[in-house]
């Protein structure tokens, strides 16, 4: 299972901040596609992704136990 973390507007949109998703062997892009279909999450293609707390691109392949965080545009400071 892949641990998925949602923040900011994505968290509000889905109404939860963590999910467990079957995704061993998937790419980040495939996971985004699956989540779009399963949860009708808007704008997922344009957000940054972190895998295990480091930014990762859409080609990154996921393994069971990975933590994937979707990072909408940041606004700290």
């Amino acid at each position: 299972m892949i641990n998925v973390l949602l923040f900011a507007q994505l968290k509000d949109e889905l109404g939860k901040e963590t999910l467990s998703i079957e995704g061993n062997g998937m790419s980040v892009a495939q996971l985004k596609g699956k989540m779009k279909v399963d949860f009708q999450l808007e704008g997922l293609e344009t957000v940054m992704t972190a895998v295990n707390e480091e930014f990762a691109d859409d080609d990154t392949i996921l393994s069971d136990g990975d933590t994937v965080a979707f990072i909408p545009p940041v606004s700290g400071g």
Binding site: F7, A8, A50, F55, I71, V74, G76, G77
Partner: protein, 132 residues
């Protein structure tokens, strides 16, 4: 412990204390506070949310980037999360260097990078137009 995400109010002096050294002639701090008016709209309060473990890693990365560019610089950054009222402090960046120009430059670099790569989000739940 120079890079922190804090639920408690930030004490500026504590952040500064982390970078003062015998070889530092200059310390700059940047203090980001919650402003009441933005583009004619009134903020009542803000809620800051962070992906905490990654945010700390990214603050540490900014510190490493500063060290590469300004090897004599010492940096400390604390960012607050949770509900902040007007004038509350959201972030304190302290940088010490032997000479003052570097302290300004490195400090400014830090805030620009925070706004690019640190997973922290500001939610403005209390914004209203001029007439409410």
């Amino acid at each position: 412990m120079n890079y922190n995400i804090s639920k408690e109010p930030i004490v500026i002096q504590e952040v500064i204390d982390k970078v003062v050294s015998r070889n530092a002639g200059a310390v700059t701090t940047f203090i980001g506070t919650v402003r009441e008016m933005t583009k004619g709209k009134k903020t009542l309060f803000l809620i800051y949310e962070a992906y905490v473990p990654m945010a700390i890693k990214k603050l540490e990365q900014i510190g490493s980037e500063i060290k590469e560019r300004w090897p004599d610089a010492e940096t400390a950054i604390t960012h607050r999360v949770g509900k902040l009222e007007i004038t509350d402090i959201a972030v304190v960046i302290a940088v010490s260097t032997p000479h003052r120009n570097d302290a300004y430059e490195a400090n400014r670099y830090a805030i620009e990078r925070i706004k690019e790569i640190v997973p922290i989000w500001k939610k403005n739940t209390g914004k209203m137009g001029r007439h409410g």
